[in-house]
């Protein structure tokens, strides 16, 4: 179980393992509303997902359309390719074969990744606002 003070934004260090076995532990936002985990395109590329840097349109991603979802944001629509990480873990909690978007988060946020539902749905996640505690178990 992970239990830590709940602050805003809810950040922790999560470990992402690519198909090649490369592991990167990154400052990560816990975001239950996000359907997918997210990591930067360069990290995805280093982990063995070559398509992460083929950003000249869906044809160039060489992926089926269902692996390049459109994302609605407050400023418009974006598309990003999905790839499957071998494992994502936080402490002793881990999930295998986690679908993840390769998408560059704004540098100014100083975060490198997002834990979305493709990881969080494997666990009970509690945002206890009264006790100011975040728990994953």
């Amino acid at each position: 179980m992970i239990s830590m003070p709940l602050v805003y934004p809810a950040l922790l260090m999560a470990k992402f393992t690519g198909p090649s076995g490369l592991k990167r532990e990154l400052r990560t936002l816990v975001r239950p509303g996000a359907p997918y985990c997210v990591i930067d395109r360069e990290d995805a590329y280093r982990m063995g997902f070559v398509q992460a840097v083929m950003d000249m349109g869906p044809m160039h991603y060489e992926l089926p359309p269902e692996r390049i979802p459109w994302m609605a944001t407050t400023t418009g629509m974006l598309e990003a390719p999905i790839f499957t990480l071998a494992e994502v873990s936080v402490g002793d909690l881990s999930a295998k074969r986690v679908d993840t978007l390769a998408f560059d988060l704004p540098d100014a946020t100083r975060i490198d990744a997002v834990l979305g539902e493709t990881f969080l749905s494997n666990f009970t996640v509690t945002f206890d606002y009264r006790k100011r505690q975040l728990r994953l178990e």
């Binding site: 830590m4 934004p9 076995g21 490369l22 592991k23 990154l26 280093r46 402490g91 100014a108 490198d112």
Partner: protein, 74 residues
């Protein structure tokens, strides 16, 4: 680059390399598995260059040493 002996806490590393991106080999963790101490093997102001300079590392922790600007996600 730092020598292998230079084990720093996360706070010490942040103080040593303010407002830089750090690549750290973690040597100690807390009860939540979060990094507590490690050896800084690279640091750079550029988020991309820190990736390039650690390309041969199989397992590494990368983080920004400093406060994030105040922001909210909507």
């Amino acid at each position: 680059m730092s020598s292998e002996e230079d084990v720093l806490t996360m706070a010490e590393a942040t103080q040593e390399y303010p407002e830089e991106w750090l690549a750290m080999r973690v040597t100690r963790r807390d009860s939540n598995g979060q990094p507590m101490e490690g050896v800084v093997i690279a640091h750079d102001k550029d988020k991309r260059l820190i990736r390039t300079s650690t390309i041969r590392e199989r397992e590494i922790c990368i983080f920004y040493a400093g406060q994030s600007p105040v922001w909210v996600m909507i």
